[in-house]
Amino acid sequence: MAEKKPTGTILVAGAGVSGIKAAIELAEIGYKVLLTDASPQIGGILAKLDNQFPSDHCGMCRMLPMVGREYASQYCMRKGLYHENIEILPFTQVKSVEGDAGNFTIELLQKARYIDTDRCNGLGECISVCPVEVADEFNHGLTQRKAVYKPVPHSTPQMLLVDMDACTRCGECVKVCPTNVINLDAQDETSNRQVHAVILASGVKLYNLREFEDAKSWAVSPDVVSSLAFERIISGTGTFDGKIKRPSDGKIAKRLAWIQCMGSRNRRQNRDYCSSICCMFALKEAVLAKEKGGDDVETTIFYMDMRTFGKDFYRYYERAVDIGVKFVRCRVQAVMLNPDTSLSMRHYDSQDEEFIVADYDMVVLATGQIPYETHKDLADLLHIKVNAQGLLPTETYDKVKLTKPGVFVCGSLMGLTDLSEAMSSGIAAAGQASRLLAGLDVTIIEEEAVPEPRAKDREDPLVSVVLCKCSDKVEKSSVDFGALEKGLKKLMAVGEVNIIDMVCSDEGKETVLDLLKKSKCNRLVIGACHPFIYRNALKNLAKKAGFAASLFEIIDLSSIVHKGFFEPNRSESGAKDQTREAYNELFAIIENLKLKPALHVETLPINQTALVVGGGIAGMHASFSLAQRGVQVHLVERSDKLGGYASTHVNHTIDGLEPVSMAKDLAIKILEHKNITLHKNCEVAATQGSLGAFETKIKDNENQENIYLQHGAAIIATGGVEGKTAEYEYGNSDLILTQAQLKTGLDTGEIDVSEAETIVMIQCVGSREKQENVKQDGQKQGREYCSRICCVGAIANAMTIRQKNPEARIFILYRDMMTYGFAEQYYTQAREEGIIFVSYTLDTKPRVALVDGKPVMTFLEPVLNSEIEIPADFLILSTGVDAETSNRDIGKAFNLPVNQDGFFVEADSKWRPVEFMKVGLYVAGTAHSPMTLKDAILQAEAAAQKTYAYLSGRKIHTAHAISRVHDAICVRCQRCVDICPYGARSYDEVLDRIIVDGATCQACGMCGVACQNNAAEIMGFSDKQIMAVIDAKMSKNTIGLAAQ
C-alpha cells in the first residue's frame, strides 16, 4: 500500500495582521497552517486600532477570503478568527526550529492560561470576584485589570486567562466559576510539530516610554502619551468611551500636540532609520481628534519631514490641512510641565525669527518601530547571523525570502511597514511558501464531498430542536426546560424536541448524533453555548446525521440560561421572563428555518491559465512565479521587448541592486519557460467573463490580427512612465535635465560633471501639488502624490557626482525628504558628505533664470531667512513618475476603476492592496502607484499568489448564500448592477438578463436594497423569512408557555 502523502503544513509565527493574512492565503489553497502568537490573543497592534486611514474606519474584516468565505469567519476580525484549515495557537512560543526547507521540526511552548477557553462561557464571573488589580497592558496602563482578565476586551469568544505573576492563588475565581474550567495548577505544554515551511511574522517592538531611558525624559506627566496609547484614548471601546480626556485628571483635552520621530531618525540612539508609519499615524490621529473632539480642538504636529509617500497619503495630508490641523516644522527640545498641570513646548518660528512658547493639554509622542532586538533573537532561533544592518538576511530582490531556504518573513519584521505592505508581504510570503510546497510531495486538504442532504426542497418543513441544558448547572439555570419543550412542541413546524446534557462533551455529541440519525426532520436547531466556538463541531455533527448545512442553525442558549442566575435578587417572575426569552429566540429561529430553502453551492470550473498585462519587472516576476507552480501564463507586452522602464534606465540603485541585469536574466527565464506564452506588440482590447472563465481579446499590432485568450484570472502590471514637466525652464537649456537623464548621462559618460562647480537639484517638480496649479498649455501636469523614488534617486545621483568630482557643490532643494525606512541612512550619509539640503515650500518655490544660457537659481534659505542667488552648472529636476497612459483604456476593457492620477484603484488601499473588487483581477507594481523595485516585486509575488490560490484547483465552489435573479419579475432596470460594490452583477445584452458572478458575489445585500421588485434575491434571506422572524420576535404568542 502506498504511503499516504502528508498534508502541506506551514508554521506562521506571529498572529498580527500580516501573519493572519499569510495564514489565510495558505489555508485558502488548502494547506494546513499553524498560527502561533506569543501573546495571549491574536490581532497584534491592530486589535487596538479602531480606525485606519484613509477611510478612518476599520476594514480589518476585508482581509478575510472572498471566495470560500464560508470556510472562515464571517464576522468582525477584531473579535477573532476562524478558518477550517488554520490551527490558532495563542500564548505559544516557538522554542526551536530544526531541519531544512520542506522538513522542519519545530518545538512549541504553549503557556498555561489556567482557564479552559473551550468551555469557559466568557461571562467573567471570576473577574468580578478577583481581588488583584494591575495595570491593563491593552490600554497601555491607562486602566486597571484583574489577575484573571480578558486580554482583548471586545473579542468573541472571550479568551480569558490568569496572569500568574499577579495571581495570589486565593481561589475565589475557582469557587465561583459556573463551568469549572479554572485550574490554577495548569502547566505549560511543549510539543513538537512537523512543518514544510516557516513564515516569521512576529512584528517588531514599538519605542515606548516605559522601557527606553531616552524616552523617559519626555514623560513629564501622565498626559504625555504614546501614539498607540492615544488610540486607546480616542477609541469608542477605549479608556474614556471615545472622549478625548487627559489621563492625569480626566478633564477634556482641547489643545493637543504630536511630536514626530520619537525613537527614530536619531543616530545618537543608533536608530538611523525612519519608522515610516508615524507620520500617517499622527495625521490620522489629528484628523480623528478634530472629528471626534469637535471643531474647537486644536491639533499641532511638530515634524521634521511629513513623509506622506504612499498612495493617496498626500491627499490625506491636504485634507488634514483643510480641516485645520497645524503643522510646525521643528524638532521640539523638551516638554515642560506647568504648575497648572498643562504642558508647554517651545519652538522656533523661522519665518518670524522668534521663539514661541505654547501650552497644551496633552502631548502625543509618535513612537516608532524598533527592529533590531527582535531580529537578533530570531536569527539565533534559526541558527543564522543577522546581516550588517542587524536584520535577518533576505534575498537581494525578495524582501520576504530569507537566505535560509524554507523560511520567509512578512509584516514589520521585514522592514518598517505600513498596513498595505503588511498585507502585500503576508500574501507574498504565503506565495513563496506555496512555491516551495508546490515542488514537494505533499497534498492539500480537499473539501469533503457533500453528502446528499436529507431535506428535499419540496418536503414540508419539519424542525428538530436540540437543547443543551448545560451540565449539572441546570439547577442554577433560570430557564424552565420542561415548559420550553412543551411550548415548542405545539408549534406546527416542530417535529421533535430533545433536551440533552452537555452537547459539548464527547458523550453529549454521541447522544445527539444517535438521536438525529433516527430523526424524520429535515431542519435542525441546536440551542447550546457559544455559536462562535461550537458552530464548527456541531455543523459537522449535523452533516454526519444528514442535515443540509443551510438548514441548520445554532443559537446561543447559554447566555439566557446563565443570565438571570447571577442577578442577586432573582425572582420567580424573572425566571419566567428568561424562559419566555428563550422561547422567543427559538420561535424566531424556527420560523426562519421553516421558510428557508435548502441552499446549494455552485461549482465553477476554473481555467488554470493566467493573463498578465505588462512585461515590466512586476509583470515578468508575477508570470514566472505562476509558471513555476504549473500555471499556464499569457504575458502580453505592448512593446517589442520585455523589461519595462527600470530595465532600460536603471543600471544600479543606491542599495546595490542592478535592475538592468536582473531584468535581463528574468527575461531569459520567461522566454525559456514552457508554461509562459509571450505576446509581444500586443494590446488588450476587451474582456468579459468572471473568475475561472475570462475571455480577453488582444490586438496584435505587428501582425494586425486579433487573438482571443481564455484565462481564469488576470494581473495588471502596466507600470509607469517618467513624469513630464515644463517648469523651471526645462527644455530651454542643455544644462537643465531630469534626474533620469542625468543618471543615464552619468552612466554613459555623456554628461561630464568633472568641471562643474555648482549643481542644483529640485525635488517634487510638479509633484505633491494641486493639479490645477501646474497646468501647462491647458494640460494638467501636476502629480498630486509623492513618486517615492525621486528623493533616494537624487541622493544617489548626487553621490555619484561627488565621487567623480568631490569639489562640486551640490544643493538639493526639497520639500520633505522622503527617505523613509532604512533609506534614511543615505540621507544621513549625503549630509555627511557635504551635500547641501535646503527646504522650500509651495509658497517659496525656487526660481530659475537663464543668463548666457546658464541657469541662475534664486531660492530662500530658511535658516538665514534670506534669498540666495547661485549660478548653476547644471539644474536637475526630479519630475516623478506618471501613470502609464494606456491605463484608462485597459481599465475600460476590464471594467476596472482608474483614479484621477491615472493609477488603478485597488479593492481597499490598506487591506486588499493587490486585488480589485472584482474577484479574479489583480494589480501589481507601478500600475498601482509609484513604488520602488523591491516593492513592485513584492506586489507581483502577492498578485501571483492571489491568482494561484484560485487557479491551483480545477474548480471552486461559490458560497451557499449568494444573490440570484428572479428572472420572471426582473425589469432589467440594472439598478442592482450600478450599486453592486463588487462588480458581481452585469447585464448581458445578448441574453437580455442580469448575470450574477457567483464567485464575486459576497451576499452583501445591496442589490436586494436597490431592487424594489424583489427580483434580486439573497438566497436564504428572503423577505418572507425576515418578516417571519420580526413577527416571531414581536409576538406575544407563547402558546405553550401561557398555559404553565
Binding site: 425589469v971 432596470c973 436597490a1010 423577505d1023
Partner: protein, 376 residues
C-alpha cells in the same frame, strides 16, 4: 435665447393647427410616428399612437383629461428599440415620470422628440366625459382656465392639479405654450438642439417669447405652490399619526389599483401579489393569536407604506393613485407629503433632469451617517 414660434389660430381651429404642424413633421420624415391624446371613435380622449399622417387630424392634446399617465405608455413603446422616430405629446407630470423610467432603463430618448404642453389641470375621467357631452371643448376649457376658472357646476379639476407647481413641462425638446400666449395664439418653444432642428425643418422661424408669458407662469406657479403648502400643512396636521393614517386608509380593499395607475411603480410584478405575501394558514393563525383578531385581507397598511418607501423618491405628484381608487381614498397627499421630504433629504427632485442619479443607486462608503449610526 429666443426660440419661440407663434402659431395663430381662428376660434375652433386649435387642434387643426396642431394637426397640421404634426402632419408636416411626419410627412417631412422628421418623425415616423406620433403619440398624442386623440379623440376616440366612440367617445373620450386617450393617448394614441399614430403612424399614418392621415389620422393626425383627430388629435386633441389640450383635452383636460389624463386617463392613464402617458409615461407608462411612452415606456412601452421605447424601452426596446422599434427603429422608428416618435414624437410624444405629454404633460409635465408625464414627462417627469418618463425621465425617472428612463433612469431605470425603461425608456429610451434617442429616437424620441419630447413635446410638452402647458397644463392647466385635468378632470377625472367620468367628469371629463360628462363635460364633453355637455359641449365643453378643449379651447373653451383653456380660455376659462387661463383666467383662473376651472369649475363647471360642481365639477372641478383634480386635487393633484390644483396644487401642481409644474404647469409647464421643462425637460422636453419642444413646448406648446398657451400660458401668456393670448386667446388666438399658441407658441411653439424649442428647448434643445433637437427641437431647434425640428423647427428649422418645419420651416418655422424663431422669435421672441410672448411678452406676458414669464409673469403669467410665475403667477400660476406661485398660486399653486401656495395652495400646495396649505394642503400639505393641513394634511400633515390631520394625518400625523399611525392611527390617523389608518383612518385615512380604512376603506382600502387591497385591490392595488393605485399601484397599477402609478407611473413610477415600475415593477413587473408587485411583491404584494407574489408568494412573499401568500402566507400559510398557520401564519394567519399565529397573527390572530397575537392580538386575538386579524383583519382580512391583511397587510393593508404594510402595502401602502412599502409602496411609499419604494416610489416616494420618484413621485411626480400626478394624482393618478387617487383617481384610480374605487373607494375614493385620497392617496395623493399622503404620497406627495412623504415624497417632498424623502426627495429633499437627497437633494433630489423626481423628473428634474436626466443626469441626476436616483438616490440609493450608487454605493457610497459614507452616507446618511446620522441614520445608519455608523461611528468612527
Amino acid at each position: 435665447m429666443a426660440n419661440f414660434t407663434k402659431i395663430s389660430f381662428k376660434k375652433g381651429e386649435l387642434n387643426k393647427q396642431l394637426a397640421d404642424l404634426f402632419k408636416g413633421m411626419m410627412e417631412k420624415g422628421v418623425v415616423d410616428a406620433l403619440l398624442s391624446p386623440m379623440t376616440q371613435p366612440k367617445r373620450g380622449v386617450m393617448q394614441t399612437l399614430i403612424t399614418h399622417p392621415a389620422h393626425v387630424e383627430r388629435i386633441d392634446p389640450f383635452a383636460p383629461v389624463v386617463p392613464v399617465n402617458g409615461a407608462k405608455i411612452a415606456s412601452s413603446i421605447t424601452a426596446t428599440p422599434s427603429g422608428r422616430k416618435v414624437a410624444m405629446v405629454l404633460r409635465s407630470c408625464e414627462t417627469r415620470a418618463l425621465i425617472e423610467l428612463g433612469k431605470l432603463n425603461l425608456a429610451e430618448f434617442d429616437d424620441v422628440l419630447l413635446i410638452g404642453i402647458d397644463c392647466l389641470g385635468r378632470y377625472e375621467n367620468l367628469d371629463f366625459l360628462n363635460l364633453r357631452a355637455q359641449g365643453e371643448s378643449s379651447e373653451s376649457f383653456l380660455e376659462k382656465a387661463l383666467s383662473g376658472d376651472t369649475k363647471r357646476n360642481d365639477i372641478d379639476i383634480c386635487g393633484a392639479c390644483k396644487i401642481c407647481e409644474f404647469p409647464v413641462a421643462d425637460t422636453v425638446d419642444l413646448r406648446l405654450c398657451v400660458i401668456g400666449a393670448g386667446a388666438d395664439a399658441l407658441y411653439v418653444e424649442s428647448l434643445t438642439p433637437k427641437g431647434d432642428k425640428v423647427l428649422e425643418t418645419a420651416g418655422l422661424s424663431f422669435g421672441e417669447a410672448p411678452g406676458s408669458r414669464d409673469a403669467a407662469v410665475k403667477q400660476l406657479v406661485a398660486a399653486r405652490t401656495k395652495a400646495r403648502d396649505a394642503e400639505f400643512a393641513g394634511y400633515r396636521e390631520s394625518t400625523g399619526s399611525f392611527d390617523a393614517l389608518e383612518d385615512r386608509l380604512a376603506a382600502c380593499i387591497n385591490c392595488y389599483n393605485c399601484r397599477v395607475a402609478c407611473p413610477v411603480c415600475y415593477c413587473k410584478e408587485c411583491v404584494f401579489v407574489t408568494d412573499t405575501f401568500r402566507h400559510k394558514a398557520d401564519q394567519y393563525m399565529g397573527w390572530a393569536d397575537t392580538f386575538g383578531t386579524l383583519k382580512m385581507p391583511t397587510d393593508t397598511m404594510f402595502y401602502h407604506l412599502t409602496r411609499m418607501s419604494h416610489m416616494s423618491l420618484f413621485c411626480v405628484g400626478c394624482g393618478q393613485c387617487t383617481s384610480a381608487c374605487p373607494n375614493s381614498i385620497d392617496l395623493m397627499p399622503a404620497f406627495r407629503t412623504a415624497a417632498q421630504k424623502t426627495q429633499a433629504r437627497f437633494g433630489y427632485q423626481a423628473g428634474r433632469s436626466h443626469d441626476e442619479k436616483q438616490p440609493l443607486t450608487v454605493f457610497e462608503n459614507d452616507e446618511l451617517v446620522e441614520v445608519t449610526g455608523q461611528v468612527k
